[in-house]
Symmetry: C2
Subunit: 374 residues, 2 copies
């Protein structure tokens, strides 16, 4: 129950044991076409979705490096660890980051974006983390923010690594120019592939610019995509697994999948409240659907809590990143998450807290509340 | 029988169906340590071997981008397609390529390297493709070339993607500063991981330089390696597969594995001669051990030959890259290659050639010659 990688289903894991085929042959071409079609469904886009053999960070670098170069100004709201990572990539490609100050635990709001555009001219792009895994905060105003950015002629680049496939994100309708996700979170395939949708505008901008990376050069991927190939050797077993995981999404239906994610997260939040614990994001409407960030109560050590949950109950949860280390714990609620995982995790959390001396007002109520929400 | 990816053994493929573990936990740390130890054995090095979730090209970019920057001069012998790829990476990182002209089908020789160093001062590195897959040529003078480069203060960066694990390449003894390979060739794991050994000198040079890629930044990999982690989400199933493939190398023994590769390639070359065909590399001593490049005889179409071999005999071989397209075919001889693969391929080649109107002087002699060599 860590905030990703999610546990892939057995069907997905076993798909990897198929024969490694020639990635320059007709079989691979068919596989790629089938994956592409399903990715368009999950991304809710008509545009191509580039598949990189890399982690999600590689996808972030791809989305930045193809359009941002020396001296380009990029807006980034400072909402957590992964916003900082975006900034480091921008700087490594010679761009200048103009921060939109946001207090951790809160999301960026449209008026802040509007104001930031007034202060800076010639902004190349706004970089947003849709679901900031480090703080458990979800940016719900993405459509409005995207509209503002386009009014100012800026590209909208979204890190949806921990949300796409589990939270509604209609890429075309919301006007997102590059949407990045990884294979290993809500899509529930194993880690190792980054998926990036690219709008026409993004492609045009990238063509005007020479990127500095060969491995992450958009044009090469688009050229080879037409041949039904990738420019460099793809990890064929990961492509098999992705195909199988996408099949499972199609079978479940994207809407039903998003509903399941929402239900499970509601169950978690109800349980957390019943335990008398505080959620890290201050406003309920900005709480993430896929990562539940909980403040560790006074008197309990975060690492001790995680250790007891893992060793005694077999439930592994995440800790806090950077300056939130020791202050919060984080529960992943993504991929194949269901009542089984929610209830077992709530039970382990309650029992472990009690064991570490935390006083539970009404033992068992957290489970009951979670059950009702499921 | 394409020139990679090699077909992984079932043991290796099935290893991927194990549970995806937390890559920030103790289990992954142990896995990484075990892989590291075996990689040192295969690379014949005491230095760290960085593992990237990317194709081999990502590994080439990593080896170049961490030490080459604006205005740096880099020597590259022009021996084929993958030398060109190295050059494109150098240029994308702002470096200047000083070509050592080499006729395709021949390897670079030490006197050419000596001469190139006389013409250029302040050479940052020499970039060598150990085994040029596009032409089937092996650089046998690597130790001597490496010695010359070090005398001139240059780093030695080697693309050993299609050779390491199948051809002897004692990285430390030959003074190679960065040796790049992929998981999918002679190591016979599935594609998706790049492996790069880095010498102390390479690390020092990289630390003096700020690289432009976050995903391929050496310092992050070295920092996380100390914690038993990778900086970005690793493809856990590919790590399982790599571990299993490395176990198989340890069980076979590196020396025996190298001997097996040599024997199989000798069998192929004997058979090719018995069929009256010409090998592409002009001098027998520079013929590759892992990729057999054969000129297509007059009157036979390369693509037709490949098609018949594949459709009628189930043996898939490679064609020529770029300007060698249509002129040569290429047979992979790597990974788990054994008498089974060699004999079936020779038989398919002979039968397909005969079917396409090529006159075989002594039918069956090619198989007999191959058999004797095995």
């Amino acid at each position: 129950m860590i905030p990703g990688p999610a546990s892939p289903d057995h069907r997905v894991l076993l798909a990897m044991s198929r024969r490694v085929i020639n990635h320059r042959g007709p079989e691979f071409k068919r596989l790629l076409e089938e994956i592409q079609e399903k990715l368009k469904y999950v991304f809710q886009t008509k545009n191509p979705v580039v598949i990189l053999t890399s982690s999600g960070t590689g996808g972030m670098e791809f989305a930045v490096g193809n359009v941002v170069g020396d001296g380009d100004v990029v807006l980034i709201p400072s909402m957590g660890f992964f916003c900082d990572r975006f900034a480091r990539i921008v700087e490594s490609y010679g761009g200048r980051v103009s921060w939109i100050p946001v207090e951790w635990g809160f999301p960026v709001k449209p008026d802040m974006v509007e104001e930031a555009f007034k202060k800076e001219s010639n902004v190349k792009a706004i970089l947003l983390v849709h679901n900031e895994t480090s703080t458990g905060v979800l940016v719900r105003d993405l459509p409005e923010i995207s509209r503002i950015a386009h009014e100012h002629g800026a590209l909208v680049i979204v890190d949806a690594i921990s949300s796409l496939g589990g939270i509604d994100l209609p890429v075309d309708r919301w006007g997102i120019d590059a949407c990045v996700t990884g294979s290993q979170k809500c899509i529930a395939a194993p880690p190792g592939l980054a998926l990036v949708s690219v709008s026409e505008r993004f492609v045009e901008e990238a063509k005007r610019k020479k990127t500095r990376s060969l491995y992450f050069d958009l044009e090469a991927y688009l050229d080879y995509m037409e041949k039904g190939q990738t420019p460099y050797t793809p990890s064929v077993p990961l492509f098999y697994a992705l195909d199988e995981a996408l099949k499972m999404i199609v079978e479940e239906g994207l809407e039903a999948r998003i509903r399941r994610h929402r239900k499970c997260s509601e169950a978690f939040y109800k349980a957390v409240e019943a335990l008398g614990l505080e959620v890290y994001p201050r406003e309920p409407e900005y709480r993430s659907v896929t990562v539940i960030a909980i403040k560790v109560p006074k008197g309990v050590e975060a690492e001790e809590l995680r250790k007891v949950m893992s060793e005694k109950y077999g439930v592994v949860i995440g800790g806090g990143h950077g300056r939130l280390k020791g202050l919060i714990v984080r529960i992943g609620c993504m991929g194949n998450v269901s009542a089984y995982e929610v209830l077992a995790t709530v039970n382990a959390l309650e029992s472990s807290l009690a064991e570490l001396g935390y006083r539970i007002e009404e033992p068992g109520r957290a489970l009951a509340e979670a059950g009702k929400a499921l």
